[in-house]
């Protein structure tokens, strides 16, 4: 990756507190065009909180986040316009028909009639939603619901894509297709993809960012993680656990 290329997603020293609890503490990393970065960590590590700040749903207490050069606090509308976001629970308007839901999101994102028609055709095809466009969202299976959420996130062709647990509810065949699809989106775009399944992240991404108890504990290429795991005879999951629990790792090393 060329270091001179400006990142499309730039997170600098971000902290978020809920009362006395520090959910995210001074986290910094960036994602450049063409990169798919896996964002891993156990449940409650702060992944969703950070992604909610990226989406502008939450406001950071400290630090800054820029999406395609737009600060999420100072220019929230421009920042949101640059982002395709799939939230953790992928809430959708259940009563709406799938096509109308996608049309609504496209119109709310300012797409004009011709652009909207073009993007609808592309997203429906790319997310394989042809069979459900006339159905109400509530009538769709979990796998379809994830794909509807993904289509809504991509309808405006955003330069930055943030996906919180996007493979939740997909079967293995759909997961494999999703990985290929994500790779096909990567050129020109910065993709941040959160999951707690390390193997899935390593299969999809070139770089992994790990967070634990709100702090960044690793930011390295997947190849480096795999190399270390192979050298030490550990699985990728075990290697990641070492990153997430440095105290535990140092105890093991002392033995």
């Amino acid at each position: 990756m060329n270091d001179s290329v400006r990142p499309l997603l730039d997170i600098r020293g971000v902290t978020k507190r809920y009362g006395a609890t520090v959910a995210v503490e001074r986290v910094s990393f960036s994602v450049k065009p063409g990169e798919i970065v896996g964002f891993v960590g156990p449940n409650g590590a702060g992944k969703s909180t950070l992604l909610k700040m990226v989406s502008t749903f939450l406001v950071p207490d400290e630090g800054s986040i820029e999406l395609a050069g737009h600060d999420v606090v100072k220019e929230p509308l421009a920042a949101r316009a640059s982002l395709g976001y799939l939230a953790e629970h992928n809430a959708l308007y259940d009563g709406m028909r799938v096509l109308r839901y996608l049309q609504f999101v496209g119109r709310a994102r300012g797409l004009a009639r011709a652009e909207l028609a073009e993007r609808l055709a592309w997203t429906i095809g790319a997310c394989a939603l042809e069979a459900v466009t006339k159905k109400r969202v509530q009538e769709c299976s979990k796998g379809y619901r994830q794909r509807i959420g993904l289509a809504a996130a991509l309808i405006h062709d955003p330069p930055v894509i943030a996906l919180d647990e996007p493979t939740h509810g997909l079967d293995p065949v759909q997961m494999a297709a999703f990985r290929d699809f994500l790779r096909s989106l990567a050129p020109r775009r910065a993709i941040l993809f959160s999951s707690h399944i390390v193997g899935e992240v390593c299969d999809t991404c070139e770089r992994v960012v790990a967070i634990h108890k709100g702090k960044l504990v690793a930011d390295e290429p997947v190849s480096a993680l795999s190399k270390r795991a192979n050298a030490s005879g550990r699985t990728l999951d075990q290697e990641l656990v070492r990153l997430l629990e440095p105290a535990q790792a140092s105890t093991e090393a002392a033995r």
Binding site: S55, T56, Y93, M96, R100, A108, R109, G110, E115, D157
Partner: protein, 251 residues
């Protein structure tokens, strides 16, 4: 491609059209509108055949009490439902100003209420067939009904944003609406004045707080500036407070 974010009114229009369509996905909203329409028309017919007057005075006199129950049933879901279903996150992360979201939802609710008022058109037609009603007075009555409904919906939107669930939002909106409407009832004013003799609490509430004196002025054909300012000002204040509250819910 990343399109430019929409302006306040264009954004409000997108939200309003989604919301308006969504009312018809909800059986409760449709049923409550039909029930309110049947009730309003039957109240009018009853009064009309008893009094035999070619005007809608009795209808407009009864309407506020009906709205105290009907409009909170409409406004309760505006924000509380978004929070319950977690679509609130989807909505506020769209590149739309918070003002567009609030205005769009309000306009959709007002349009549904407008449909209810249009549903009373058979009364107007019947009056025109049977006699020569004062059309200016009718128009002024409908303006009063629209402004009162707008105020109750704007307050309902604020209370829906404040409430964790729809039932609480309904109860709060019904209580506030009832306070605005019933404080204009002369019998209640007399009771309150009697309870706090010397302080004239009932009269003070009637003159300062109640929507009914302003509503009655408009229904009577007097489009006074204070009456218009009361409805437009309080509605705008409620919508501004809703916008502030929705913005704070994100932080």
């Amino acid at each position: 491609m990343t399109a430019k974010p929409l302006g306040l009114l264009a954004g409000a229009r997108v939200i309003a059209s989604r919301e308006f369509a969504a009312w018809f996905d909800s059986g409760v909203a449709t049923a409550s509108t039909i029930a309110a329409l049947l009730l309003a028309n039957s109240i009018f017919m009853n009064e009309f055949f008893l009094a035999g007057r070619i005007d809608m005075g009795p209808f407009f006199a009864r309407l506020p009490v009906l709205l105290v129950l009907f409009l909170p049933a409409q406004s309760m879901r505006l924000w509380a439902e978004e929070r319950r279903t977690r679509t609130f996150e989807v909505l506020v992360t769209l590149p739309l100003a918070t003002g567009s979201l609030v205005l769009g939802k309000f306009l959709a609710a007002l349009a549904l209420y407008g449909l209810f008022l249009v549903g009373t058109a058979p009364i107007v037609v019947m009056l025109c067939v049977l006699g020569a009603p004062d059309l200016g007075l009718l128009a002024s009555g409908y303006l009063a009904a629209l402004l009162l409904g707008g105020l109750l919906l704007a307050l309902g939107s604020l209370l829906s944003a404040l409430s964790p669930d729809q039932v609480v939002a309904f109860v709060l909106a019904a209580l506030v609406s009832a306070a605005l409407v019933l404080s204009g009832d002369e019998r209640l004013v007399a009771v309150l004045d009697g309870l706090f003799s010397g302080a004239n609490v009932g009269t003070w509430i009637h003159d300062v707080f109640s929507a009914i004196p302003h509503y009655e002025e408009l229904v009577g054909g007097i489009a006074s500036a204070p009456a218009l300012a009361y409805f437009v000002g309080l509605s705008a204040l409620s919508l501004w407070l809703t916008t502030t509250l929705v913005r704070r819910l994100r932080t």
